[in-house]
Amino acid sequence: MIANAPFLLVGLLFLGGMIAIFMEKNLVKIAIAISVIGSSVNLFLVALGYRNGGTVPIHYMAGENTVMVLPTPQAMTLTAIVIALATTALLLSLIMLVYRHYGTLDIDEIRRLRG
């Protein structure tokens, strides 16, 4: 159980992000919470690829050591980070527009489309 601490940390981060999304009223804080969730997913992918005693997956840096950490999750994380960056930029632009139109960031007051 204690050896799985990285996975539990990922779960806690995710939980914190989810609660922040539901609790917070401010759109910028919600954007931050979504970033936290994205980071927790990236952390999860990297943690999946760790092998005890493994080295960096680059041949001339690893030297004679043949145990390397898994490279695929690192490649996946690279992709996921860029995607998270792109979505954060878009989300912030949308929030700028929302503030321009509604004059508020409170999610409860943005309600022209209810019903």
């Binding site: 779960g11 995710f14 005890n52």
Partner: protein
């Protein structure tokens, strides 16, 4: 009332995810990794790439990378669509 339901749902989801992560495999000890071992063994010999991660990103899983470049391009396009200067109403 609504808030309580949401928080309960969030906690449930978080607990689910924590539970799922706990049974993946013990941290630092993946059991069998045929795909990654293939990459580690063959990246240097096949395409003489020292950096295996780069070899995966641009060769073995290169199609993901063009998707990723497309995501960045999409985000740029969407941002410039949202914040464009429109024509004024006459």
């Amino acid at each position: 009332m609504k808030k309580t339901v949401f928080i309960a749902a969030a906690i449930l989801l978080g607990a689910f995810i924590t539970g799922a992560l706990d049974v993946v495999h013990p941290f630092g000890d993946p059991l069998e990794v045929p795909m990654d071992d293939y990459f580690i063994a063959n990246a240097l010999n096949d395409i003489s790439a020292e950096n295996i991660v780069t070899a995966i990103v641009f060769d073995y899983r290169g199609f993901d990378t063009i998707g990723e470049a497309a995501v960045l391009f999409t985000a740029l396009t969407a941002v410039s669509v949202l914040l464009r200067e429109g024509r004024k109403k006459p």
